[in-house]
Amino acid sequence: MPTKRLDKSSDAMFQPYYDAAAEQRFVLPQCGSCGHRFWYPQTSCPSCLSLEWTWRDTKPQGRIFSWTEVHHPFNEELTETVPFLVVIVEPDEAPGVHLVSSVRGIEPGELRVGLPVVATFAAPVWSDHMLPVFEIDPARV
């Protein structure tokens, strides 16, 4: 599995997300100047251009923004994995952020844009690392 895909030395900007996920924490870059949470990490805040931002704990819940069920393996390493669901989640505390993830415990036919989801942590279909994956949040359906 593609552990090699994570090269810590060259990915200092991206690594804290993985470190937090390993501790089952969901974090996003948050601007220290205007408070904007953004995605993906970049050198300056996309809202106010401040260079002072930090990774901040973020409530691990949101809503399904869009999704697809993948039937064709676009990489041969995914041949045994299809079909699988990919979702894009908009976190409640970070409007405008589109978090690519997966969803578990729901049939594709029941999936709807707007459904409330909550994160748990597990290795997704094409990684050995603990990362946020989502489940339907029964408390908010």
Binding site: S10, W39, F65, V100, G114
Partner: protein
């Protein structure tokens, strides 16, 4: 800034050349590209030494067939300006825009623009985005891999935002695929040679729901070359001159890496709206005056969003619009050569050579009657170019 068209010089696309297009060619990319360049020189009635500018895209060709190699093998000994622009399809359209400007200003006499790929025989283009660390680290672990997934999630969100059922969405996207195929059957250099009907489209299984096989472009080996000259350097006074009368480029303040998942509008292309308005404005042309549109069609939702950006229909009305049909014979035919979906996937440069063919009246069975004005739009991403071409 808006360019004025009433300068003393106009930029004419006076030569086009296409290699044979196929899924897998026996010839290497270099040979296909040289075939296209030589065909363009012949078409323009120019010698290799007449070319004084060489332009291509800034990401694909610099690796696979860079300008020094192209120039050397084509014998272009008079070059005094080169340029590489943007990425892939946007880059070749931007090259036309920049070459046209240099010609209008009198800086160049004859500019060559070239582009080709051998992605049909070498490898599918999915790994092209492995260069982006955010995609590798934050998207691919979930299997969000392959550009079809980007457009699958865009299409589903589009249906949600504008209140289309998934069946309405399927019939709209399917009609795009069907019409592209019908157009390709009228083109002599198209990879697809069998017809496609909507029932066959709908019976296909999903690749990435809601996209099916025929929503995805071909994989191809092929190359195209274009030559722009001033009007006085256009040696063919006997046929209509195809003039670049309008061109617009716009780029959003978002990285390539982020665009497809993080585009704030998600179901529309802000840069395409801006580039289209610029191009129409500096050509002094309205959408109603256009006789065809060639729009980058990597996946069926892509031309849909660009037609909306051009103002052919309102944002969200695209599915309704394409369901009514956009094949040759309709009011405003889309991708008259079959596009990347059915002619050949060359990241859109074949859309430009097709536009020239139409405006010269040389499109044979696929000719749009009395075509005198057309738009070319490339590509669906953070940046976008619209060209307005007219027969003079």
């Amino acid at each position: 800034m808006a360019q004025t068209v009433n300068t003393s010089k106009q930029a004419v696309i006076s030569g086009t050349g296409e290699s044979r297009f196929s899924r897998r060619s026996d010839a290497p990319l270099a040979r296909l590209q040289l075939d296209a360049i030589n065909a363009a020189l012949t078409d323009a009635g120019l010698e290799p030494g007449d070319i004084d500018g060489v332009f291509t895209d800034g990401s694909v060709m610099p690796v696979s067939f860079p300008i020094d190699v192209a120039q050397t093998n084509a014998g272009l000994h008079g070059v005094r300006r080169v340029g590489q622009f943007a990425t892939g399809g946007t880059g070749t359209a931007l090259a036309v825009m920049e070459a046209a400007k240099a010609i209008r200003q009198g800086d160049l006499h004859a500019a060559l623009i070239y582009f080709g790929v051998d992605w049909g025989s070498s490898q599918p283009p999915y790994s092209f985005h492995d260069r982006y660390r955010a995609k590798v680290l934050y998207e691919q672990p979930y299997g969000y891999y392959g550009q079809a997934l980007y457009f699958a999630t865009i299409a589903r969100r589009y249906a949600h935002e504008y209140g289309y059922t998934m069946d309405q969405l399927a019939r709209g996207l399917g009609q795009i695929a069907v019409d592209h195929r019908a157009n390709a059957l009228l083109n002599s250099n198209a990879q697809q040679s069998r017809s496609l009907d909507l029932d066959t489209y709908l019976a296909e299984g999903m690749l990435a729901d809601p996209l099916r096989r025929y929503d995805c472009c071909l994989q191809s080996d092929g190359a195209v070359a274009l030559i722009l000259t001033s009007e006085e350097f256009n040696s063919h006074k006997d046929r209509p001159a195809v003039v670049v009368t309008g061109a617009g480029y716009a780029a959003d303040s978002i990285t390539d890496e982020s665009f497809f998942s993080q585009n704030p509008l998600f179901t529309s292309l802000p840069s395409a709206h801006r580039s289209a308005a610029l191009a129409l404005s500096n050509a002094g042309v309205t959408v109603e005056q256009l006789d065809f549109v060639q729009a980058y069609d990597c996946f069926t939702p892509s031309p849909l969003m660009q037609l909306e950006a051009l103002g052919v229909c309102a944002p969200g009305a695209g599915i309704e619009y394409v369901t009514a049909g956009t094949a040759i014979g309709s009011d405003l035919p889309l991708n008259t050569h079959g596009g990347s979906l059915a002619q050949c996937y060359l990241l859109g440069i074949n859309h430009i050579s097709e536009a020239v063919r139409q405006l010269r009246g040389e499109a044979g069975a696929g000719q749009v009657k009395n075509a005198s004005k057309g738009a070319v739009m490339m590509a669906p991403g953070r940046d976008h170019v619209t060209l307005i071409l007219e027969r003079s």
